[in-house]
Symmetry: C2
Subunit: 384 residues, 2 copies
Amino acid sequence: MHFFSSDFKLGILGGGQLGKMLLYETRKWDIQTKVMDTSKDAPCKIACNEFVLGNLLDFDDVYNFGKDVDILTIEIENVNVEALEKLEQENVRVYPPTKTLRTIQNKATQKLFYTDNGIPTSPFTRFAYTSEIEDSISNGGLQFPFVWKSAQFGYDGQGVKVVRKLEDLSRLPNVECIAEEMVNFKNELAVVVARNTKEEVKTYPVVEMEFHPEANQVEYVICPARIEESIGQKAVEVALKVSAHLEHVGLLAVELFQTQDNEILVNEVAPRPHNSGHYSIEASYTNQFEQHIRAILGLPLGKTDSKVAGVMVNLVGAEGHIGDVVYENIDAILEMDGVTPHVYGKKQTRPFRKMGHVTIVDEDMFKARRIAQQVKETIKVISK
Amino acid sequence: MHFFSSDFKLGILGGGQLGKMLLYETRKWDIQTKVMDTSKDAPCKIACNEFVLGNLLDFDDVYNFGKDVDILTIEIENVNVEALEKLEQENVRVYPPTKTLRTIQNKATQKLFYTDNGIPTSPFTRFAYTSEIEDSISNGGLQFPFVWKSAQFGYDGQGVKVVRKLEDLSRLPNVECIAEEMVNFKNELAVVVARNTKEEVKTYPVVEMEFHPEANQVEYVICPARIEESIGQKAVEVALKVSAHLEHVGLLAVELFQTQDNEILVNEVAPRPHNSGHYSIEASYTNQFEQHIRAILGLPLGKTDSKVAGVMVNLVGAEGHIGDVVYENIDAILEMDGVTPHVYGKKQTRPFRKMGHVTIVDEDMFKARRIAQQVKETIKVISK
């Protein structure tokens, strides 16, 4: 049986924007797909061969979904891993492997993994409950400011807060969590590593991320990063070390801090296509979604170099707007050179919700960055 | 009402590979689509919002299909134009306009259009029936060799034959046709012209086509063409003249001959995305499918320059193979740099049937061309 055959079926858990972009590639190669998502309005509902409504965190839903697929992958880590483990035992090929998912899914476990393997990361403390943090502060063990992270199922800034004073604690849910020392960084960087079933490994160029100060979401991703070559090399080395120890199959997006002292620290990782790799659709020889498919199918990995420089702007819901989405001035950005909007197809907008992204490519990275700024200032994601 | 709205619906007549590649772009922008095709196994059946089974040449099927869409486009010219004319009268926006389709659909009318507008093309004679050709030969009006073309519905070499001797005539259907003087050409070239509803016009770079000697199908498309700049300019001028007189909306692929005397003659045109523009998916700032959507929606046209050089190889069914398709050695070509296969998803192969294409991109056009040759020699489209 070959992947390019009607006997083969690829399962994807999660039918959001990442799944949708994966489906461009499965369509390109006529690979049969089956997708499960919690929402009947999921962007993936069309373009897959079979769509199943189900809860990604429910054992039975995930297990029943995965039973008749040949290879199972994810577009989101927050899935029922017990069900995946059972499927793995029954010879469904699950990529990323459940061992990788187990290490990553809990942020405390993920941090321990780094320290156990000599991978540089910021100092941290584990807490069974947020309420225990206060004791640690009063006995001097923990100092303001620090970064609070929910250990379970943090996604897109929802489970991450900067704590600057005692009062900030009262707004946090009382769950298993970690407190990380705040990193005084020069740059936030990311490296996407691809690793296939045959352990072939390739890295994409280091990208630079600019975050929105309030929403804790990426605002621009810039490829290549505006950093010294030696810093880039160090970032790639660290990312490869994480990749080797995690033994993932598929993509691994490694988010990194470059400190004031030019140290590289791992922030966190995602074992799947990632926002920091979206620029690759327009800029790279092999885009991250095709690369993920190549990796999990055991095909040779594609060239990760860029054809041109790329800058990505996230399209997030504007503040003060909740309801049916409108993309104001999308025509105007289409007049700018090298601009490609991606509209995810979510029907409802709300403040800071990821509704799409725009890639700007040019031979000259600085020109692309300038156009990206114009794009950002022109298009608005609002409600009707 | 805006295109990026759930109230808007784009209709596409024809659900083959071109429609399928158009759907990547409508998906990217979350544009609602409705597709009609004659085959229940059409590659477009998934990825559109609504699929309708129907005969593209049947008045009622086309009319009923088009009644509830806002904009109607085609992936193939062989559609019922009477139905489109009625839809146009009822304010459905049909792009290309039926006037353009009328001119192009009949090859005799198309040739007359060129001569009437002073557009260079090879000399030709019209015949109501192929059987009339013999008289013309015996009275010296027509000389061997010449190119016979069926006036109606020629597609992909099916309606085109080189006639070298009297016996060749017996193998031709007895239909309305033209006999064209055979052009002694140096190169076959093509220019894709985009023209939007606001009459904004852009041209893609001139590409060079290498044909398979037997099947009369394109084997390689090379961008940029290996020609002198002055020839390229002349080719673009001629293509723009055709575009202006045809008043099309959407893409127009203009196929050209460069003669031994460096004249540029129009061979034929297609008012839609075209095989000669497939390279643009990987090589251009704006691929031809996105450009077609931009044009028919009245959006600003995108940049037509190339990021890198591109060579396209058609994947056609190997001789001697009929049945369920297998893409032999597809893994091997994925190991080569800058190689992207596209598998159209047709279940059955037969000799010379277009089953897919492969794009090879590189900064260096000559390197891309060399890899394309390797691709061609490696992959085989065969039956099980």
